[in-house]
């Protein structure tokens, strides 16, 4: 057999093994990524979605956050406008977690309708797009607002 053929065969074997690992581990670690609305539809159609590991991406309902004083548990509600779920997360919430941010929670939806999260990722809407608009309503920030914006410096 020519070396080239040998290399191609062994290469295919390696890639095949890698491909097998990929396929099998996708089966084991793949989780649904749903919006609350999709989750509501899923559990209505198929109750086995209760107590199944999945991810939900939604926005935190402002004012719904109740932090455990020790900082190791937090409960809040998430919504996508159509459906809303209460979430309980045990663990240290990331610094970006706050009212109105987009979060991804991973965990299980209990039969009581509460989502028990084991991981909490918060994508701060204002993390990079930190719009100054919020200051329009804050007293003390508009003192220079009366002057028209000069062009240049």
């Amino acid at each position: 057999m020519k070396a080239r053929t040998k290399f191609l065969v062994s290469g295919l074997l390696i890639l095949g093994a890698a491909g097998y690992l990929m396929a099998s581990s996708i089966g084991q670690t793949a989780t649904y990524y749903l919006t609350p609305q999709e989750l509501a539809a899923k559990v209505t159609a198929d109750p086995s979605f209760y107590e199944t590991g999945l991810k939900v991406g939604a926005r935190v309902v402002p004012g719904s956050i109740v932090r455990d004083p020790g900082g190791k548990q937090v409960s809040f509600r998430v919504t996508d406008g159509a459906s809303t779920y209460p979430v309980v997360y045990r663990g240290i919430a990331p610094d970006t977690f706050t009212d109105g941010v987009d979060v991804v929670v991973e965990g299980r939806l209990g039969r009581d309708g509460t989502f028990r999260a084991t991981t909490l990722l918060a994508k701060c809407a204002s993390r990079y797009e930190n719009a100054p608009e919020k200051y329009r309503e804050t007293p003390g920030y508009q003192q220079r607002a009366a002057a028209p914006a000069p062009r240049g410096a």
Binding site: A3, R4, K6, F7, S10, G11, I14, L15, A17, A18, L21, M22, S24, S25, Q28, T29, A30, T31, Y32, Y33, L34, G57, R67, P69, G70, G71, K72, I92, P94, D95, T96, T98, V104, L121, A122, K123, C124, S126, R127, Y128, E129, N130, A131, P132, K134, Y135, R136, T138, G140, Y141, Q142, Q143, R144, A145, A147, A149, P150, R151, G152, A153
Partner: protein
């Protein structure tokens, strides 16, 4: 100055458009006046982009909050170094910064090739200018950093506290330098494809640029890991987050290219493959930018959803289509000049190396894009997590580590049995010894044992190479050991610098394997209370809470807890973890409280303390983690960077001329060699 900057952005846009147009036209019509004008246009583009960046910096430093960008990402009390870094803290500014680097690289590439590669250069300049044009168009029309507010806030919103970290201030520039530097090899590849000059000539021109890109990507990735580790507080440095993966992808293909380029130089093989790698590296770095900026894939790091993503998607599709067409129509010009002769040869080792690197890149890409793919195919978003990446990449990574040790030992073309025995005995013995020793000491984790065995083998390989090389010099030139070693590296920078990089890789793999022994504890401590635990090395630790203190500092209010730590009864130092509430000049809180991790570093392990919260007056909720060998990730990264520098350092041409070496210019030399299919001397 701000107005000047704003105008300069538009002028740069026109200049880049001009340069791209006349460069391509000049190349096609063979008009040297057009080509020269295109090159001057490239310099001019750079000059005006510099002005545009200086304008934005001026606005940032003078706190001109009428600019939306300045008001969004800075505040009057932001420390000075972070004002400098504010240029790349947000979407629009970081695009401008990207553009600045790209235009700079374009100017350097055009200047250094002003009398070389004349056939390729019109298209190189054209491609670079067209890419710059794309970024300038995105800036001017998509995300303009000079956008104004219709009112002026008294203070800006301030920089995100997590970005107020030295690591974060220097991590993006390094990553950008790495990403952007892939554009130059890409431009040369396009030029070579257009002109059908696909021999080794263009490769020689891009080798150094690929190294530059690799060098900065390496530093950028390691700094990113460091930032995630000290700032995000989850106790690790790599989470297989889409944005992290995006930075790894071009690094993997770039590393593959730096190896396969050697096969083309020495044997004239793999010509299609090399073009593909260069192009993929560039496309992957654009894809990474697209993922980061479009918000298409959920990531904690990504920018908010923005239309800029569509610009990148469009550019990506266009660049892919153009290169796919060029490659497809020029396949015949890229026929291989030699055949693989034996499976037991350095060529074969390099081919496996490429296969594994690209395999890793593919699996990472697959896992990263899986939510999009599954949504497209099945209509449902399905994500894969770290277990997926670990299951696939740990075996592949270990195989790669094995090849790191095999490659340098094995002969080109066809290795003989005596060559194998002579070269492999000592390294294999060292590897087996390290594995057996760790097993005897009680280590039972399978992957960790494999990793340390391979690490021993690779270290053996590297030591043997240095030992033999230096020994030969000592015999031939009568030099003492130290001089022989220095000259050995100095005269063969590429080879021995590469070994230094390999050593850095070994150190990093050894540190990764240490993660298998991590230990985590959640504790609640009142002032004066103590907590005891045993670390993975068997040392007994005792932590005594010093209570909670609250004070103001710079632009923040701090709640801190100190732990006095003792190892085996002896004082080991104070560990302090903080919660920081940042405030603006008006005293109003900005952002959510951020966590400052307390880390007690040592070669054996980090003690990593996160203050989760405070209950009552002085009860701290803490997470204490023993992270073995983390230190070595940073040092491994530094070693790799040093190795990269050794490889990149220009070889002194004069000295070689004196010793009668430089009879043929390098690219032609390599060409001739590739043509004959002969093996040149290892010592260049």
């Amino acid at each position: 100055m701000i107005l000047v900057g704003e105008l300069a952005l538009w002028v740069a846009f026109l200049m880049a458009a001009w340069s791209a147009t006349v460069s391509f036209a000049g190349g096609a019509l063979r008009r040297s006046d057009l080509v020269a004008s295109g090159e001057r246009g490239a310099y001019a583009t750079f000059a005006f982009v510099v002005l545009a960046a200086l304008g934005l910096w001026t606005a940032i430093f003078t706190h001109d909050f009428s600019l939306k960008y300045v008001a969004s990402f800075t505040s009057a009390n932001l420390p000075k170094p972070y004002l400098l870094a504010a240029l790349w803290a947000g979407q629009a500014g970081s695009l401008l910064f990207w553009c600045l680097i790209l235009a700079g690289f374009m100017a350097i590439a055009v200047f250094t090739n002003r009398s070389a590669n004349r056939e390729l250069m019109p298209y190189v300049t054209g491609t670079l200018a067209a890419t710059t044009l794309f970024f300038l168009a995105t800036l001017c029309l998509g995300a303009n950093p000079y956008e104004r507010l219709d009112w002026i806030p008294a203070d800006g919103r301030g920089m995100n506290p997590q970005l107020q970290n030295p690591g974060m201030a220097i991590h993006p520039p390094n990553l950008y330098l790495g990403y952007v530097a892939t554009t130059v090899p890409f431009a040369f590849a396009i030029a070579a494809l257009i002109t059908r000059k696909l021999d080794a000539g263009w490769l020689a021109a891009v080798r150094r640029w690929s190294l530059v890109s690799w060098f900065f990507l390496t530093i950028g990735i390691v700094l990113g890991m460091w930032w995630a580790y000290v700032e995000l507080g989850w106790g690790g440095y790599w989470a297989w987050d889409p944005v992290e993966n995006a930075s790894l992808l071009p690094w993997l293909t770039g590393t593959a290219f730096l190896h396969s380029i050697m096969i083309q130089e020495k044997r004239g093989m793999l010509r299609k493959w090399n073009v593909t790698l260069v192009v993929s590296t560039f496309l992957l770095s654009i894809l990474g930018t697209f993922i980061t900026r479009s918000g298409i894939i959920e990531s904690v790091h990504s920018f908010a959803q923005s239309p800029v993503g569509n610009w990148f998607l469009g550019f990506l599709v266009l660049a892919f289509a153009v290169t796919a067409y060029l490659v497809a129509t020029r396949l015949k010009d890229m026929e291989s000049k030699a055949e693989l002769e034996s499976m037991v040869s350095r060529e074969a080792a390099f081919l496996y190396n490429n296969l594994v690197l690209v395999g890793i890149a593919f699996s990472v890409l697959w896992g990263t894009l899986f939510p999009i793919l599954s949504e497209a195919v099945r209509g449902e978003k399905i994500t894969v997590g770290p277990p997926f990446f670990n299951t696939v990449n740990i075996p592949l990574g270990l195989f790669l580590l094995l090849l790191t040790g095999v490659g340098p030992l094995i002969a080109w073309r066809r290795a003989s049995v005596s060559n194998l025995r002579r070269q492999f005995t000592a390294p294999v013995a060292l590897g087996l010894f390290s594995g057996a020793a760790l097993f005897a000491l009680g280590m039972r984790d399978f992957y960790a044992l494999v990793a340390y065995t391979l690490a021993g083998f690779v270290v053996g390989t590297i030591l043997q190479e240095f030992y033999k090389g230096a020994g030969a010099r000592m015999r031939l030139h009568g030099e003492n050991a130290a001089i022989a070693l220095v000259r050995l590296v100095g005269r063969n920078r590429r080879r021995y610098g590469g070994y230094v990089v390999h050593f850095g890789i070994v150190v990093i793999f050894a540190a990764f394997a240490g993660l298998a022994f991590k230990k985590e504890h959640d504790v609640t401590l009142r002032a004066g209370e103590a907590f005891e635990a045993t670390d993975p090395w068997g040392h007994r630790w005792r932590f005594v809470s010093q209570g909670v203190s609250r004070y103001d500092q710079l632009n923040r209010q701090v709640t801190a807890v100190g732990l006095e730590s003792f190892r085996d009864g002896k004082t080991a130092g104070m560990i302090k973890s903080e919660k920081r509430q940042h405030v603006d000049t008006q005293g109003n809180p900005t952002f959510e409280p951020s966590t400052e991790v307390g880390i007690l570093e040592s070669a054996k392990q980090d003690v990593y303390v996160v203050l989760a919260g405070v209950t009552g007056e002085d009860t701290a909720e803490l997470r204490v983690t023993f992270n073995p060998l983390v230190w070595w990730v940073w040092y491994g990264g530094m070693i790799m960077a040093v190795g990269g520098l050794i490889v990149m350092w220009p070889q002194a041409e004069r000295r070689r001329a004196q010793s009668g070496y430089v009879a043929v210019l390098e690219p032609q030399g390599e060409l001739a060699v590739a043509g004959r299919g002969a093996v040149p001397a290892e010592v260049r």
